[in-house]
Symmetry: C2
Subunit: 165 residues, 2 copies
């Protein structure tokens, strides 16, 4: 028998997984050359966005109490600075690898978490604030990050060849 | 005392409201001329995307059992056919108005719904399927539509003047 908590967790994780899979399929389908293009003239490149998503997802590990970041060095390149910062970036292959590794690491942890774990506070909220704002839990963080991912996914589809209209 | 259901409804509606507000602020900040541009070369125009979102959100009314669509005639233009279909579109002012009206209508209904209503099935699921798949409830539909909105919001930000980099 499924509890209400289990039901919520399924709802939130189903859509996280759906967008992770969609984005992963897209990234795998794009050539290195396509990934180097800007998603729209003057905007971020595909490479930057994949690196940005990998970095943000990596940051979920400590926020969810699942361990340290795997690639803390990416933060300066893909989070604190814009695409055209002039900072040297990892190679496209490394960025593809980071994206894959971080998401797999999260999936492995998520698989082991039980439904009550998800309603605990994430590490960026104090005990005191969490008492007043119990919605600031781990599951809520995933819901927020899913929408962050959807937004950039919506941009990265432009790297695909345009359908003739 | 907040129940688990109330907590989860708050989590899902908070992010729906956040993206509705973000998108609304963006649409209001764009001139009619900016809205007529394509979000990226060869892709949908801002006008089409606002019409598309208004149409999809309008479709939530019957799906959530909240009444009939306000503008069923938009479906053919903004859902079943692409931007360059050649079908005559409403004026930009009318599209802005539809976007606003539909979202306000939803907000009014959401305000009145209690947390148990949200865990009832939406109208596109049969009773039989819902028994086996209780996650296909009204709140789940909103979670899905929030991510749909985030994706198009991520595209519509390109209608803003590009920051110098």
């Amino acid at each position: 028998m499924q509890t209400q908590n289990e039901l919520f967790v399924k709802m939130a994780l189903d859509i996280w997984n759906a967008y992770i899979n969609r984005a992963d399929t897209l990234v795998n389908s794009l050539t290195d050359e396509q990934l180097q293009h800007e998603v729209s003239p003057g905007r971020n490149s595909g490479v930057y966005l994949v690196g940005h998503l990998a970095t943000v997802h990596d940051g979920m590990l400590p926020l969810l109490g699942l361990g340290d970041k795997l690639y803390p060095e990416l933060e300066n390149i893909f989070l604190k600075n814009p695409d055209k910062s002039g900072l040297p970036k990892p190679s496209i292959n490394e960025i593809r690898e980071h994206w894959k590794t971080v998401n797999e690491k999260l999936a492995l942890h998520f698989y082991k978490m039980n439904s009550d774990d998800w309603f605990q506070k994430h590490s960026a909220v104090s005990e005191e604030d969490f008492e007043k704002e119990p919605h600031r839990n781990k599951l809520n963080l995933v819901i927020n990050r899913t929408n962050h991912l959807s937004g950039h996914y919506g941009q990265m589809v432009f790297l695909q060849a345009s359908a003739s209209e």
